[in-house]
Amino acid sequence: MREVDMLTGNVAAAWAARIADVDYIPAYPITPQTEIIETLASWISQGLMKAKLVQLESEHSMLTAAGTASLSGARVFTATSSQGLLYGFEMLYNIAGWRAPLVLVNVSRAVAAPITLEPDHNDVLAARDSGFIQLHAEKCQEVLDLILIAYRVAEDHRVMLPVIVNMDGFYLSFTREPVYIPSKTDVEEFLPPYNPPHPFRAGRPVVKGAAVLGGHIYAYFKHNIHESLLRAGDVFKEAAAGFREVTGRFHSPVEGFLLDDAEYVLVVTNSFTSIARKAVVRLREKGVPAGLVKLVMLRPFPSSDIMEKLRGRKAVAVFDQNISPGLGGVIYNEVAAALYHVKNRPETLLSAIGGVGGKYTTVEEFEHVFHMLMHPEKTQPGKPVFLFRADELAHVQTALRLAGYTGEET
């Protein structure tokens, strides 16, 4: 095994594309993703990697080229963030409908307005209904591992769907962590070459993206995508087992932490999971039976794994780093739906919204969420709790005061 490298999430993503031997990288710059395409461009121009990188004129074009190249038989990698993901949004649905098994890394960044650079998950969760598989990373190592697993799942002929691998901007994209890079032979053993069904070739004409007339044919195709996406859950588990054989590292759609006897459980995703873990450890030290569930896979939504891990718990909170205005947390509602049919479901299901726009969430805030679980009588059922500290409010007020705002209309 190679020595461990200190890599940012972005460079880890680039390494994954390199060792997956991708053929084609359509690109377009956007913070905080740009380091990925710059790294790949530099490797290709030095001859370290045999692939074609083309910079398009927008994310919409980038995603279009990504899709058609994938249908032509190339293994395709691309990356974007936030506004870019939304600018190319209609193509996400197309790529899934075309059954183009490419991998798109989304480096999460909150969506304007107001325009900002720091992460939350409104960008990636907006794509949840597109037909992409979604895998969310907590650490830089996971970024690399999940991309490799993503190709194997996407290109499996039982699936044939694209994957978004999500990492948080700044917290992962620009943070160096120890990352093991698997050897080329290990990757070759795990990831067979892409075998595209009916690519565009002379002498074998095909039509792709044909129109349909009538809801019955449209519904037939949509149902096919749904079935394949559900199958992707099992194919992921197979792929993860294969990945463990060659690398020794294990990944599952839903991960538990100190769950065995846990009565109070927090459900989290992405990089803030690491902060939440610390809160769980602190509470355990104080004798509180706290535990944590991390969702790695958001699509297909791992309902049965969630049911199994949360049944019988006293109280559960879902931490959403996103907000669907007028509803609340996106993942909370999905978890609630999954738990509805569980007989001994938790009595309390709390929604906590924090980290929006990259706002840091402290260990103490996560501990506070657990305290609310221990005293549910002080919360309002179904009403989300917004994590916003007094010192943060004071910062806002100071900024307004410095700008001359007195709170009175002039």
């Binding site: 927008s58 080229a65 038989g73 193509m91 993206g209």
Partner: protein, 296 residues
């Protein structure tokens, strides 16, 4: 349709057509196709980017030895004017600037025909469309200027650009043949009448096309590495009225009262165009007189 057949005829069957939303999209309705070549429907705004992905994939896979050169395809973008002049212009601009080796065929019917004939960037001055209806307050219909896509493309310096018309098939076939020698963007704008939107009997299609050329409304020309040459010179221009009066979209210019100023302005634009071209290329042309406008 005639133009698409011409492309098929000259380029052969080893072609992938890359399409954006338009009338031709419904040529293939799952699970049928009338084409002997491949077809990729992309999205309204990004057919040239779709062509980029296919071309690049074939190139890198040939380079890596995973596709044989005899499996290679010619990539042809085919869209209407809505995609070419408006929503997909950015994508086309990018593809030309990158030197993508592809053909682009626009079938220009001067409006969004598929959705019921709304105005596009290709709609000419004076045309009635569903979104520029002539009324008492606005008797002219569309009052803007048709974009000069030929010159927009030419500013990108691609190896080959041509305008074609179905009434001049030999000219068209020769141009497709000529274009096939060049590597890089090869761009065609095809006069494509729309009987329902323009309001004339479909049996007159070729005649309308011929009138467009003879009246000087639709110049047939090509640009090779930026040098423009008119491939057919209507030595004595017919008055534009002859072209306009056959179509319902221009009917308001003639009835209930004739809009002399509007018609004269169309004639003047055509005349100026040809006088300039004649000067640049050194040919002789007799323009048609603008209608004399009676003093108020």
């Amino acid at each position: 349709m005639l133009v698409l057949r011409a492309f098929h005829k000259v380029l052969g069957p080893n072609v992938v057509f890359v399409n954006a939303a338009g009338c031709l999209t419904l040529l293939q309705v799952y699970p049928y196709t009338p084409n002997k070549s491949s077809w990729m429907y992309t999205a309204f705004a990004s057919a040239p980017a779709g062509a980029q992905g296919i071309r690049d994939a074939l190139d890198i896979l040939m380079e890596k030895g995973r596709v044989n050169s005899f499996e290679d395809l010619k990539v042809v973008v085919v869209t209407g004017d809505g995609a070419a002049y408006d929503i997909g212009l950015q994508s086309t601009s990018g593809a030309i600037e990158r030197g993508l080796d592809f053909y682009y065929l626009v079938y220009d019917n001067e409006a969004y025909g598929n959705t019921g004939f709304q105005k596009s960037g290709a709609t000419p001055y004076g045309s009635a469309t569903a979104t520029t209806p002539p009324t008492e307050r606005n008797p002219t219909g569309y009052t803007g200027v048709k974009k000069d896509l030929f010159e927009i493309w030419r500013s990108h310096k691609p190896p080959y650009i041509a305008t074609v018309a179905p009434s001049h098939m030999v000219d068209m076939l020769r141009k497709i043949e000529t274009a096939s020698q060049f590597k890089g963007p090869k761009l065609f704008i095809a006069f494509s009448s729309c009987p329902t939107g323009w309001g004339f009997d479909p049996s007159l299609s070729v005649r309308i096309s011929r009138l467009a050329v003879e009246c000087g409304i639709w110049p047939l020309k090509e640009s090779v590495y930026g040098k423009v040459r008119h491939t057919y010179i209507p030595t004595v221009l017919k008055p534009v009225e002859e072209y306009l009066r056959h179509q319902n979209r221009f009917r308001h210019l003639f009835t209930p009262r004739k809009q002399e100023t509007a018609i004269a302005s169309i004639q003047e634009q055509v005349n100026n165009y040809w006088l300039e071209a004649a000067k640049n290329e050194g040919f002789r042309i007799t323009v048609a007189k603008p209608v004399t406008i009676a003093p108020p």
